[in-house]
Amino acid sequence: MGSEGGDGYGLEPCSPPKVLPNRPLPGVEETAGMNPLMRGMASSLGSKLVVALTGAGLIGFVIAHMAGNLQMFIGQDAVNAYAAQLKSMPELLWVMRIGLIGVAAAHVVTAVRLAASNKAARPVAYHAAGSIQQTTSARTMVLTGLLVLAFVVYHLAHFTWGLVHADAFSLVDAQGRHDVFSMTVLGFQQPIVAGAYLLAMLLLALHLLHGAASLFQTWGVTNQAWAPLFKTAAKGLAWVILIGNASMPIAVQLGLIVPPAGVGS
């Protein structure tokens, strides 16, 4: 039962508490004299704009990356020629790579910084958990984002750096080109590797389901008329990315894409 009157609960007046400053976002004194644009970018809204804009850029990359990779269905020559063509333009390739790393780093670092400030904004949780209309996709953005990041590191170690499954990395085709096709097929023939790629694409699709629609709200170019369209488009994008990318490990597992004669077992 309730507390007794004698334990000091009593009639002392409510005095305003000392508010503990607990704000990972910059305060007025820290940003005085700062360039207004930089100050704006550092705010919660500005940080969200950074996440939305970089997210849009990363969506563009994911689409282009998938479109290039779908040449796996055309055959060994198409994929290896595509890879050789990219490698033949090192200046452009490196500009794209550095840009992509910058965009991805800004996306992740800003989102994690916001997540930390969000955690600080609700230091005491509710005893009764209740939610009305938030989606699983929205609730798990940080988790799915970090898991996709972990996958990207593995993916680079696999196909770009040749650090894991390295035996297939040194293959060359008849024209002496880096045999990307065989390397990919041999990788996806291992059920665990194929499974990891499928899981990662599910996580990415879940991430995009919220992110691809949410960025229009953050950019401030939506309203009740447009929101359902953006939501449908984001759902469509998530499915396209999921089906498009997952089709490759699935096709290899089903034996629809096989390594060229003389490669593998």
Binding site: G2, G8, L25, P36, R39, V124, Y126, I132, Q134, V221
Partner: protein
Amino acid sequence: MKLNLRIWRQKNAEDGGRMDNYELEDISADASFLEMLDVLNESLIERSEEPVAFDHDCREGICGTCSLVINGVPHGPRRATTTCQLHMREFKDGDTITIEPFRAAAFPVLRDLCVDRGAFDRILQQGGFVSVNTGGAQDANALPIAKVEADTAFDAAACIGCGACVAACPNAAAMLFVAAKVGHLAHLPQGEPEREQRVVSMVHAMDEEGFGSCRNYYECEAACPKEISVDFIAEMNRGYRQSVSKGVSA
């Protein structure tokens, strides 16, 4: 009705606080939620126990003073309804009801279910002034305002500043409140001269108070007793982006 209540009790801002259980009988289904708490407090006073402190004022759903997170939802289970306008018929006989204060670092608990929502006042102060012409009163309708703009401004102005949006937001963000306050002036010619400055100043004041940021969960909109639309958040995002890119600072 017979009810089991789990209520957050906290002596003062420094106290750690805890959940206490109370049993209540013979509550009318026609009683409002706050009347039910009045009955509880009467019984506590009769037993020489400390009554539960909670905020309330008009009890007509228009002042924004009442609060409470009821079973995890600000202002309880009924949509578009403040706690004072919530009636016990929304619950079943024998229900266990969990009652907690609005939770946010920017809304420190003062006692039991009362929190300090002064952060909202400080954000409003940063909104500054609105230029108006002094002198003799203008003719009515001398200043034409499109109906759709007037209606939108009024939709935003319906915000009673209760803080349910903050309480509902998993990030304890104050975006819906600030967006409503920015939004209702942004649609009127009276607020136009200071529009760009206002949005930047109020957003920075919001960050200063330690509210979280928006992840577009839209829990705020669903919890808002005045059904303020998240469209105003999009509008504020756009206004802030455009003002900052013009070099406007707080």
